[in-house]
C-alpha cells in the first residue's frame, strides 16, 4: 500500500479492522469457539447461592454463549465468501511484514523481561546529593535496546550505545528520582 493510499477513506474508527481472508476468518472463528466454550463451561461450574439471577457465573456464561454465536456468524460469513478473492489480502500481509523478524523481536523482548524479573544485581549510592540506583531495569534495558537497535536499525555501535545509555539513564532518573516510582529490580 502506498503512502497516498493510507487513510484516504473512512473504513471504520479502527483502520486495521475489516474482512480478513476467508481462511483466516474461519481459523479465528474456530479459536473463538474453543475459547468461549471453555469460558462458558467454567462459568456454569461457579457457585450460585442466591439462585441463577445473582450467580457468579451468570454474566460469564451469557458472554461466553453470545461469543460462540458471534463466532459462528463469523465462520458463516467466511464460508459464504470461500470462493471469493480475499477482500484484503494486501492488508492481511501488512499486519506482519516479515514473520521471522517479528519472531526475533518477540524473543528478544521475552528474554529482556525474563532477565529483568530474575536479575538480583543492583548498585545503589549517592552521586553528589542525588540517590542513584543502577539495578536490573537499567542493565537489562541498556542491553536490550542495544541489541534491538543493532538488529533493526544497524547504526554505528557508538551511536547505539550512546542512545541506549542516555535514554535508560533519563528514564531511570525521571521515574526513580522525580516521579518517585520504583522500577523493576
Amino acid at each position: 500500500m502506498s503512502n497516498t493510499e493510507i487513510g484516504t477513506t473512512f473504513k471504520g474508527e479502527d483502520e486495521g479492522s475489516d474482512y480478513a481472508s476467508p481462511r483466516a476468518d474461519i481459523i479465528a472463528a474456530a479459536l473463538l469457539i474453543v475459547l468461549a466454550s471453555w469460558y462458558t463451561f467454567e462459568a456454569l461450574g461457579f457457585r450460585a447461592p442466591g439462585g441463577w439471577k445473582t450467580g457468579t457465573g451468570l454474566v460469564p456464561a451469557a458472554a461466553g454463549i453470545s461469543l460462540i454465536i458471534m463466532a459462528l456468524g463469523l465462520a458463516y460469513t467466511a464460508w459464504r465468501r470461500r470462493d471469493a478473492e480475499p477482500v484484503s489480502a494486501a492488508n492481511d500481509k501488512q499486519s506482519v511484514d516479515d514473520p521471522r523478524r517479528m519472531l526475533l523481536l518477540t524473543a528478544m523482548i521475552f528474554i529482556y523481561l525474563l532477565a529483568m524479573g530474575n536479575l538480583t544485581f543492583g548498585l545503589r549510592g549517592y552521586v553528589g546529593d542525588a540517590y542513584m540506583v543502577f539495578g536490573a531495569f537499567e542493565i537489562t534495558t541498556i542491553l536490550c535496546l542495544c541489541a534491538v537497535m543493532k538488529v533493526f536499525w544497524d547504526g554505528a555501535l557508538w551511536k547505539i550505545v550512546a542512545i541506549s545509555v542516555g535514554w535508560t539513564t533519563f528514564l531511570s532518573i525521571t521515574f526513580r528520582n522525580v516521579f518517585l516510582i520504583p522500577l523493576p529490580g
Binding site: L32, K53, N91, F152, G155, F175
Partner: protein, 500 residues
C-alpha cells in the same frame, strides 16, 4: 468555574506540566505510527506517581496536543500522523507541493484551536443537564448503558464488519470478568494465581494492546520514512479561517456530536465533517477539494479537535468512554480513586470544572506550542523507526509495572501485546476491547442487581422503566443496523460489476 480556572492559572507547576505535555503530545502525534490512543495508554501508568490534578492536567494536555500533531506529518510527509488526519493529508499534500505547506499547517493550527473551543463550550453547556438526567439511572439502565457502549463501539470501529467489533468488545468482557466476583467474593478464572485475585490489571492490558502491539508490528518493517521538504513560514490565519466560518461551525458541531457517541472518535468526526464540507461547499470552493482546499483542512481539523470536548461528555457523566483515549482517561482517574459517572460532582466536587479549565489552558498552549514545534517535529521525522520504536519499549515496561509494582503485570502487558498482534492479523479492531474491559464490571454487577429488583415483577413493570426501555430499543437497533450493514456489504461484493 472561575475558581478552577484561577487555580490552574496561578499554579506555575500546573502551567508548566500543561505546556510540556502539550508539546509532548504534538511531537507524539506528529510521528507516524504513534497514535493519540497509544500516547494516552502509555502515560496512564506514568501518571500514577503524580498528584490527582497534576495527572489530569498532564493527560488532558497530551490528548489535546496529540490530536493536532497528526496534521503535521499529514501535510508535510503525506502520511497521517494519526488516522483522523487522513482528510487533512488529502488537501495538505497538494498545498505543500505548491509551496504552501506552512500556510496549510497554520490553518490546521487555527482550526484545531477553534475546534477545541467549540468542543469545550458544548461540554460546559451540556454537562449539567446530562448529569441531572444521569442521576435517574439505576441498575437496569446502567447495565444497558454499558452494553450500548460496548456494542456501539464495536459497530463503529469496524466499518464493513461490525461483527468483528462486537467480538472484540466481548473479548474485553471475558478479560474483565477474571478475578474476584464483587457480590459473592468467589474467584473466577484465577487458576489459583494470587495476582489474578484482583483481576487482570487492565492498564497493563491497554498498554500491551496499544504499545507493545505497535512495537511488534512496526519495528520489523524495513522501509523508512521520507524526510519532508522545506516547511516555509507557519502562519495561523484567523482571517482566512473567518472566510470559512460556516464550515468551521458545522464541523465543530459534527465533531462534538460524534465525540459524544461512545466509540465514535476523531476518525469518524474528521471524515464525516470532510464529506459534509465537500457536499455543502460553494461551487468555486468545491472545485478546489482534493487539489488543496483550505476549507477541507478546516473541516477535518475543527471536527477532530471538537471531538475531544464531545468525548468527555459520556465519559464524565455516565462513565462510558467516548472513545479509546477517554478510556485511558478513566483508567488514569481510577488510579487516583476517582470513579467517573453520574455522581462525579457529588463525590468529587469541583473536579469537572478543573477538567474544563485544564482543557482550556491546554488549548491555549496548543496554539502557542504548535507554531514553535513544527520545525523540531520535522527533524524528528528523520529518526529511523529502528531507533524510535525501541525507545518506547521501556516506557511500556514502566507503565505496566508502576501501577502495582508487579512484574506479573509486565508479563500481562507482553502477552496482551502478542494477543493484540494476533487480533490485528485477523483484522479485529482493538478499541472495543478497551470498552469491554472498562464497562464489563459495571454490566456484571448491575445486571445481577436489576434481576433481583425485577424478581417477582411482570414484564410490563420492566417496560415501564422508560429510560431502560429506550436503551434496550437502542441496543437492539445497534445490532440490527450492524447485521443489515453486513448483509448489504456481502450483497454488494457478490453483485456483478457494473458495465462501463
Amino acid at each position: 468555574m472561575l475558581d478552577a480556572f484561577s487555580q490552574v492559572m496561578t499554579s506555575p507547576s500546573l502551567l508548566l506540566i500543561s505546556l510540556l505535555a502539550v508539546s509532548l503530545g504534538i511531537i507524539w502525534g506528529a510521528l507516524p505510527g504513534l497514535s493519540t490512543t497509544m500516547a494516552m495508554m502509555l502515560l496512564i501508568g506514568l501518571s500514577a506517581g503524580m498528584e490527582q490534578y497534576t495527572a489530569l492536567m498532564f493527560i488532558l494536555s497530551v490528548y489535546t496536543g496529540s490530536v493536532f500533531g497528526g496534521a503535521i506529518s499529514a501535510v508535510l510527509l503525506n502520511i497521517p500522523g494519526t488516522p483522523d488526519s487522513g482528510p487533512t493529508m488529502m488537501e495538505g499534500r497538494h498545498l505543500t507541493m505548491r509551496g504552501e505547506g506552512g500556510k496549510a499547517l497554520g490553518m490546521a493550527i487555527a482550526s484545531s484551536f477553534i475546534g477545541n473551543w467549540v468542543g469545550i463550550i458544548v461540554l460546559m453547556a451540556f454537562i449539567p443537564m446530562v448529569l441531572v438526567f444521569a442521576l435517574e439511572f439505576r441498575s437496569w439502565e446502567m447495565f444497558l448503558l454499558a452494553m450500548v457502549g460496548i456494542s456501539i463501539c464495536g459497530a463503529m470501529s469496524s466499518g464493513a464488519m461490525p461483527l468483528k467489533g462486537w467480538i472484540a468488545g466481548w473479548l474485553g468482557i471475558l478479560v474483565a470478568l477474571v478475578g474476584m466476583d464483587p457480590i459473592y467474593a468467589e474467584q473466577r478464572y484465577t487458576f489459583g494465581i494470587p495476582e489474578l485475585m484482583d483481576g487482570v490489571n487492565y492498564i497493563a492490558v491497554l498498554i500491551g494492546l496499544f504499545g507493545m502491539t505497535e512495537i511488534l508490528r512496526v519495528l520489523p518493517r524495513m522501509h523508512h520514512l521520507p524526510i519532508p521538504k522545506d516547511v516555509g513560514r507557519v502562519i495561523p490565519s484567523m482571517r482566512l479561517l473567518g472566510k470559512h466560518s460556516v464550515a468551521a461551525l458545522r464541523s465543530g458541531v459534527v465533531g462534538t456530536i460524534t465525540g459524544a457517541i461512545p466509540g465514535a472518535g476523531a476518525n469518524l468526526a474528521s471524515f464525516l465533517s470532510y464529506d459534509l464540507g465537500k457536499r455543502f461547499a460553494k461551487p468555486a470552493e468545491k472545485a478546489k477539494w482534493g487539489k488543496g482546499s483550505y476549507e477541507g483542512i478546516i473541516c477535518s481539523e475543527v471536527a477532530n479537535n471538537a471531538n475531544i470536548g464531545g468525548s468527555m461528555l459520556p465519559t464524565l457523566t455516565l462513565g462510558i468512554p467516548g472513545n479509546a483515549p477517554c478510556a485511558a482517561l478513566i483508567a488514569a482517574l481510577s488510579l487516583h480513586n476517582v470513579v467517573v459517572g453520574p455522581t462525579i460532582e457529588v463525590d468529587h466536587p469541583g473536579l469537572v470544572y478543573f477538567i474544563f479549565a485544564a482543557l482550556l489552558v491546554a488549548n491555549l498552549f496548543m496554539y502557542v506550542a504548535a507554531i514553535g514545534l513544527i520545525k523540531p517535529s520535522v527533524i524528528l521525522f528523520s529518526l529511523p523507526r529502528g531507533v524510535l520504536m525501541p525507545l518506547i519499549l521501556p516506557i511500556c515496561v514502566i507503565g505496566a509495572y508502576s501501577v502495582r509494582l508487579s512484574m506479573f503485570d509486565v508479563w500481562v502487558m507482553f502477552i496482551s501485546g502478542l494477543v493484540g498482534l494476533a487480533l490485528r492479523y485477523y483484522r479485529f479492531p482493538i478499541a472495543p476491547i478497551v470498552l469491554g474491559i472498562i464497562l464489563a464490571p459495571m454490566a456484571d454487577e448491575n445486571l445481577r442487581r436489576a434481576l433481583i429488583y425485577f424478581d417477582g415483577r411482570s414484564w410490563g413493570f420492566v417496560a415501564t422503566q422508560w429510560v431502560g426501555t429506550v436503551l434496550l430499543i437502542g441496543l437492539i437497533a445497534i445490532f440490527v443496523e450492524g447485521v443489515w450493514r453486513m448483509i448489504r456489504v456481502a450483497r454488494a461484493q457478490r453483485a456483478p460489476p457494473a458495465a462501463p
